[in-house]
């Protein structure tokens, strides 16, 4: 069931998401850069819940922590929680049209961002900025794009 090609597709999509996450956008755009990795994790939890689950989220989260220099366990926590809710609700969410899925995605992104901000603030107080919530909005807007792209990645040439 867990064919190497499906694993390869998953790993490549995560690497792409990580590249987008740390890409050096121009100054006004950096604040809008959505959490591509979380979107990818949610997609794979919705699309193949029998293979990618909570521990996938955990592993990807730990790598993201190292990638972006956060405290170890920060993204691991938020990503595994997001994977959990996606797994719980995947059957219902798959029936929903994309805009309605967007609401769930927005909630996930918001919770993840809130948790990240709160935990980092506990560790080392940082000043609150309104721009901190921008990735939640752009992430929601980008969801249909991510969804259709990863759908192509997942299903392309699958029949062979």
């Amino acid at each position: 069931m867990n064919s190497p090609s499906s694993l390869l597709r998953f790993v490549l999509s995560i690497i792409l998401a990580m590249c987008l996450r740390i890409a050096p956008w121009q100054e006004p755009l950096t604040a809008y850069n959505p959490d591509w990795i979380l979107l990818t994790v949610i997609y794979w939890s919705l699309a193949s819940p029998e293979r990618r689950g909570i521990f996938t989220g955990l592993a990807v989260g730990i790598l993201t922590d190292v990638l972006t220099g956060r405290m170890l366990g920060l993204h691991a926590l938020t990503y595994s929680l997001a994977a959990f809710f996606s797994l719980k609700l995947h059957k219902r969410l798959r029936q929903y049209p994309l805009p309605q899925q967007g609401l769930f995605i927005m909630l996930c992104l918001f919770c993840s961002q809130f948790l990240t901000f709160w935990l980092e603030n506990l560790h080392a107080p940082l000043r609150f900025q309104a721009s901190f919530w921008l990735p939640v909005l752009t992430g929601t807007v980008c969801w249909p794009l991510v969804y259709s792209f990863l759908r192509v990645v997942r299903l392309h040439n699958r029949s062979r």
Binding site: M1, I15, M18, C19, I22, A23, P24, W25, E27, T30, A31, N33, E50, G53, I54, F55, G57, L58, G61, I62, L63, V66, L67, T68, G69, R70, M71, L72, G73, L74, A76, L77, S80, L81, F84, L87, K88, K91, R92, Q95, L119, L122, H123, A124, P125, L126, R127, Q129, S131, F132, P135
Partner: protein, 304 residues
């Protein structure tokens, strides 16, 4: 309705029944990440694990950096011959000027050591530096932390100061095997002890979160500071060596109803432009009092 359907579907698919339940798995994952967070919060015990994991992540950093680096270097290659010649000539002239200045500097340094010996004070020799290149990646949008391509394999360690050709850039906050993270002086959680070059007034400069601004929040309204004053590192605190330019004061707002004035300065270092940075080793022993030996030339490039 849809709920019932999914329940039935759930029963049919046998794969879900295998292994621990979803809730158990969530519990394990959450406990694991909380343990990691708490260990990280308490101290630096996880640094070796992070160093090992960074080997997995390092190719991704390079994957993002390489195309950008290639584009900028190919633009340089395409630049026409005439321009290159001109630039070369200018650089040669500059080098000549700097070399003569350095000659004078060596003499001045020796004189300074003699004078300090008279005053019975020790004198620190110049620092050892390592040139590191910036990786074009963006770690977090709300922090001013950048990644450079030299790490603990080159002996880089946390709390080392980082400079560029114009002034202080920041300090190393984490050294990984092949790269290290540098916090810029403009980061909101960064503070650097400085003094006004004109009169030696000491204070602390705190990052503002804007890339071209730092602020001096701890100076009273009547302190002797003017627009255009150069701030240099004071050497207090031990992290930054004394005497490097940090910023130029450019805005002073007196606040009669508050104990401290609102003072802003622009960093001298080209924080959003320079690609080559210097990592400094400043922990050399000070020259002992009344030393007889002659000091060596101070700046030793420690290239790979």
């Amino acid at each position: 309705m849809s709920c019932f359907c999914s329940q039935r579907h759930f029963a049919i698919n046998p794969l879900f029944a295998t292994g621990p339940s979803l809730n158990t798995r969530l519990l394990v994952a959450v406990l694991l990440s909380l343990t990691l967070l708490i260990t990280e919060h308490r101290g630096t015990r996880l640094e070796s694990a992070r160093a090992a994991l960074s080997l997995l992540v390092y190719p991704i950093h390079n994957l993002v950096d390489t195309p950008i680096h290639l584009i900028s270097s190919s633009v340089e290659t395409v630049m026409n011959m005439h321009k290159l010649k001109e630039e070369n000539e200018k650089l040669k002239q500059d080098e000549l000027i700097y070399k003569t200045q350095l000659l004078k500097f060596a003499a001045l340094e020796r004189e300074n050591i003699r004078l300090r010996a008279l005053l019975e004070k020790s004198f620190k020799l110049g620092e050892q530096v390592l040139v590191a290149e910036l990786l074009s990646v963006n770690l977090a949008p709300y922090e001013h932390v950048v990644l450079v391509n030299k790490g603990s394999r080159f002996g880089v360690h946390p709390e080392q100061p980082v400079l560029d050709a114009y002034g202080v850039v920041g300090q190393i906050i984490r050294a990984l095997p092949f790269s290290s993270e540098v916090m810029l002086i403009t980061d909101p959680s960064h503070a650097i002890p400085v003094q006004v070059n004109r009169n030696g007034l000491r204070t602390i400069a705190v990052g503002s979160g804007q890339i071209n601004r730092i602020k001096l929040p701890f100076l009273p309204n009547n302190s002797d500071i003017k627009k255009g004053d150069l701030l240099i590192t004071s050497g207090l605190g031990g992290a930054f060596p004394q005497g490097y330019p940090v910023a130029v004061v450019d805005e002073i707002n007196y606040q009669p109803n508050k104990p401290f004035a609102e003072i802003f300065a622009t960093p001298k270092a080209q924080l959003n432009k320079s690609r080559e940075l210097l990592i400094v080793w400043s922990n050399r022993e000070p020259v002992p009092l009344f030393s007889q030996e002659t000091p060596e030339i101070s700046i030793e490039p420690n290239h790979e």
